[in-house]
Amino acid sequence: MVDREKLYQAILTGDAKSARALTEEALKESVDPKELLDKTLIPAMDEVGRLFETNEYFVPELLISARAMKSALELIKPLLAEKGAEPAGRVAIGTVKGDLHDIGKNLVAAMLEGGGFEVVDLGVDVSPEAFVTAAKDKGASIIALSALLTTTMPAMKKVVAALEEAGIRERVKVMIGGAPITQRYADEIGADGYSDNASGAVALARSLAAKVPAAA
């Protein structure tokens, strides 16, 4: 029997090699992938988030834990897809038009994946239309927007407008973040939520996912 505690610790300490090896071993022993995800991996990432919130972990720890999580997820995801298991939610994420800074976006994407979300990473310099397409064609119910520059912040407003224009604003939630972003700005442009850090973004996405209207 694979030692679940060891796997949990491998995620917590950012030991990607061990995380992958232990996951592989567990799957060989026919552990249910969904159960492994829900009972060991996601709780480990939740603990990483908690340590970050209490200032015991910082960005480097988040990054290496998310990396370890990713190495385990790579093995689990195809199996989950085969079984048709539903993710916690589907998030389309990207930096807005004109903005090419993606450290924050990558970190949030990794943390969301670690939190059980299916993440459609649209990359950098993403047009409002591409976010609309992701919501329409890829079934994203949450749109996550990132901007590092005050220059590119207005592009967030354009995404909200584009979703309205496409007639799908009601069925998607928009969350925003990035160094210059504030809750006040989120309210101003009619976004559904704001987080000032990657761990908070997971909690925010969970609360937004719970509010997404059921697909028609």
Binding site: G14, F58, V59, H101, T150, P180, Y185
Partner: protein, 249 residues
């Protein structure tokens, strides 16, 4: 008129040249360029301190050589004399001479990293580019050996790549401001572009906005004059910044 100018050192050569030509008496104070990496409150504090210290010394106005700079100027308070700031997101707007010109260049060439004499000789990273400084990104001043000791070699390499990678910049533009002593700054930028395999471009700068700042020619389109008892508030529209009554005093 007597003005006190408080500026980021990135404008050092330009503002020295402008102040020398100003019809007014302008006292100059330059703050470290590294403040930019902090942004927000941590950037504002030393600037506000410099503004406060300049009050009561007989100046007619305090001029600010900063843009909004990652919200670093958001909340700056004018206490007893007017404070004047360019309406600009960052220094590149000021180097290019107008918001319109910056917006057009930015639209046509996203992924451009800009260099000027100040960006080169005032850099504390010896010309290295980072998306954010390592210090800001990881909230700790850790060197690579320290990262290895803490997280192991594999993770240290990963962290360096994630936090200090070249990002998505593909073009290096040298903005020529007319204050360069020789072509060495341009040549250095060109070499750096070659080494990175990026496109190099020389762009003509426009010192006009800085000259008008120190000349006291402040149109509402270009500058915000914050009257005593008011503060700077960021607005994410064409105005960039506006003044609002400061309720704390």
């Amino acid at each position: 008129m007597r003005y006190k100018l408080i500026s980021c050192e990135v404008f050092h050569r330009e503002l020295c040249a402008c102040a020398a030509k100003s019809p007014h008496s302008v006292d100059l104070e330059f703050l470290p360029k590294g403040l930019h990496d902090f942004g927000g409150r941590k950037m504002l504090e030393p600037i506000q301190f410099a503004v406060n210290r300049s009050e009561g010394l007989g100046y007619d106005a305090i001029l600010i050589g900063y843009g909004l700079c990652n919200n670093g100027l958001n909340g700056l308070v004018a206490r007893s004399i007017p404070v004047v700031l360019p309406r600009a997101h960052d220094c590149i707007t000021v180097f290019l001479g107008s918001r319109k010109r910056y917006a057009e260049y930015f639209e046509d060439h996203p992924g451009t990293y800009f260099k000027t004499t100040g960006w080169i000789e005032r850099s504390n990273l010896s010309g290295q580019q980072t998306q954010l400084s390592m210090e800001t990104a990881i909230q700790a001043n850790l060197s690579y050996p320290a990262l290895v000791a803490k997280y192991g070699e594999d993770n240290a390499r990963y962290l360096l790549e994630q936090l200090c990678g070249p990002g998505h910049y593909r073009r290096l533009a040298f903005i020529e401001m007319g204050v360069e002593p020789n072509s060495s700054f341009e040549e250095q930028t060109r070499r750096e572009a070659e080494e990175r395999g990026w496109t190099f471009e020389k762009v003509a700068g426009d010192i006009g906005m800085l000259q008008r700042l120190v000349n006291g020619v402040w149109s509402d389109e270009e500058f915000l004059v914050v009257q005593p008892g008011h503060k700077v508030v960021a607005r994410y529209d064409d105005r960039v910044i506006v003044a609002e009554k400061n309720d704390h005093h």
